[in-house]
Point group: C2
């Protein structure tokens, strides 16, 4: 029985993690959950699951009949992430929220299944260092990274797969505006940006998928997770989101992972690893019915956010954190109708140009840069 803490249990990945756990009651036990603003859903989850502990950012009310005696309310996400009786921490928070608990859990030697890619983008060096010093393990939940991890399985010789691999390739659906003419992008609405062609996800990440900021962040995430230079990680356009990633082997073979675009599958793999658990409620991929899979080159001129993400990754230091803060604020402003879609990359670019870098940053530096980037964008609206 694996004991699981889910940070961000009210979000999209968090809710699906609870569903996976429900399908395997003899193998997975939810020990702790945490929520942010949606305390109504968090209280429902607590009443249903009766975990040992929870954390809520917002005030929380339980049903009158619910006896919550014995359920411990922790003081922070970090406290939940380091509870003695937790084996795996699913970091399904978004933005910077997952940073401190991820580092805390890894320092405590725990396994962290991470869906909160901003944590690795902002502070990948600090996170991987915490894993090494604390003896913890980072497992990717993001579908592309989870697929890379599956493809690399068994490829190591003397605990090292790099001698076998020439390139990692992640796929991009192209997002909601992949078929829009570029000159129409100035008019697109938040409603249009939220119509992702293949994946059902949270609001922020769906807009990041339209701008391809999300794909840029994924390249950076892959570089940290698999300890490779950015130029060994490529992106290929694949509209159907069925092929999630490809590993190009040194000998000319490509190992590829396919599945229905459903986040339950990578979540389940991270929790079941090294086993693979059958689940009859999950859709089976029938390639002969799907008919064909298409691939193409990514036209990065359509996606300034993608290029911005890769440029800050090369600069390093606190640049990626400033980008994360700026993107979060800019997407928020777009969703609230304050700025146009094309203003998103413009604001982020301004932030990057204005940022004063700190090389080899501490966690404090990273969090400060994220906040600085966010505030810079928010202030630009007033100016």
């Amino acid at each position: 029985m694996k004991r699981i803490a889910v940070l961000g249990s009210t979000g999209s990945v968090g809710r699906q993690t609870l569903e996976v756990a429900k399908s395997f009651p003899d193998r997975l036990k939810i020990v702790a959950i945490t929520g942010g603003r949606n305390s109504a859903l968090l209280s429902q989850q607590i009443e249903q699951l009766t975990p040992r502990a929870y954390y809520s950012l917002a005030p929380i009310d339980f049903s009158p009949g619910f006896a919550n005696t014995g359920i411990y309310r922790a003081a922070s996400l970090e406290e939940i992430a380091t509870l003695d009786d937790v084996d795996i921490i699913v970091v399904a928070t978004s933005g910077k929220a997952g940073l401190l608990p991820t580092i805390g859990a890894l320092q405590a030697g725990k396994t962290v299944a991470i869906a909160n890619k901003e944590v690795l983008v902002m502070a990948g060096g600090l996170v991987m260092e915490a894993a090494v010093t604390g003896g913890g393990t980072v497992l990717p939940i993001d579908s592309e990274h989870n697929a890379l991890w599956q493809c690399l399985r068994g490829e190591s010789i003397d605990s090292e797969w790099k001698g076998q691999v020439s390139r990692l390739v992640i796929t991009a659906s192209g997002g909601a505006f992949r078929d829009y003419q570029i000159d129409k992008l100035s008019e697109v609405t938040p409603e249009e940006a939220l119509r992702h062609p293949t994946w059902q996800m949270g609001v922020k990440i769906t807009v990041d998928s339209a701008t391809l900021m999300n794909k840029g962040l994924e390249v950076i995430e892959a570089a940290w997770l698999f300890n490779l230079p950015l130029d060994k990680i490529d992106v290929i356009l694949h509209r159907e989101s069925i092929v999630h990633s490809l590993v190009e082997m040194k000998d000319g073979s490509l190992k590829v992972l396919l599945s229905c675009p459903d986040m339950h599958l990578p979540i389940k793999y991270a929790l079941s690893y090294p086993e693979r658990w059958e689940d009859e409620s999950m859709p089976v991929l029938e390639l002969d019915r799907i008919g064909s899979l298409a691939f193409g080159e990514l036209d990065s001129s359509r996606y300034p956010c993608f290029r911005l993400a890769l440029s800050v990754a090369k600069k390093g230091g606190t640049y990626p954190a400033a980008l994360i803060g700026a993107d979060d604020a800019a997407v928020q402003l777009f969703l609230e109708g304050h700025i146009t879609y094309l203003k998103i990359p413009q604001l982020i670019e301004e932030v990057i140009q204005a940022h004063i870098n700190t090389a080899n940053p501490t966690i404090h530096d990273v969090l400060e840069a994220e906040e600085w980037g966010r505030k810079y964008v928010q202030r630009s609206l007033d100016g």
Copy 2:
């Protein structure tokens, strides 16, 4: 340095094996080679490679200037396959020729890289038993089986992958007549049958690819190699021959192997395993240039030979050996212009109907049944 014996070095897979070895002179050494009727090519290969030993079915002449002192002429393929200083025997013969040397090598505890699928179809039980009792290992070279082996790599838990896997799927290009109307098949010529859309191979296997006999034999080969029932092995139509096989995992993922359709790649993998060796002369697969991969259901009504192969596999005993002999003879008669293309499955079906089975056959029974099937077809021409 791995020491290699190549049985059938003058055939298509044999010649490509010598090319692979030539690309890695520090890691692979050709110790012995053997040939059948093409003794002119065999003598050239011997003069170039100066192996320690060879076997030739036909009389063989060397160039006047060639000093072949010290190159041992063995008395049989089995003798070559069990030489003390050979690590890996590449069985690149065709038909029944590889049977006795494969079993001999496995009984002697050696690694056999097998391309001669008829050996496993005729006597898979005896071959796998020889591997167990002798401590030998069977590695598949056939591209589909090599791909399955690559996809299953790392999937074992407690040395067993079956708990992780729900189905193996091999791809079929559909062969030379995939786009012919069925009523035109009565008129097709040997020249047309030899135009394979994606693979360059020997003559017999190219006709077997047109009839899909080859794909039926591959299903049987996979059942023996991976010790699975026939109903766990499916075939899917994939015209481009870039996806070679798919492994459907219990958890809903599909692990897939792609490469250019070039036999050098599976040969190299079998010889380099567990390593993967870079070879800049090999083509790299660029999916974004290829554009799309198509899949479809296999219409087995087009391919009576495919259904005949699966039916004999279910009957077991000496039926598969009789089928192998009958197919070999029928394809030969077709290539020589004695029978029409549609007569191939008719003759094989007659053989199967007339065959008297021996359950749990010995090697002798298997070879006898193969010869009986062959003769039955040859005699039918006289009658």
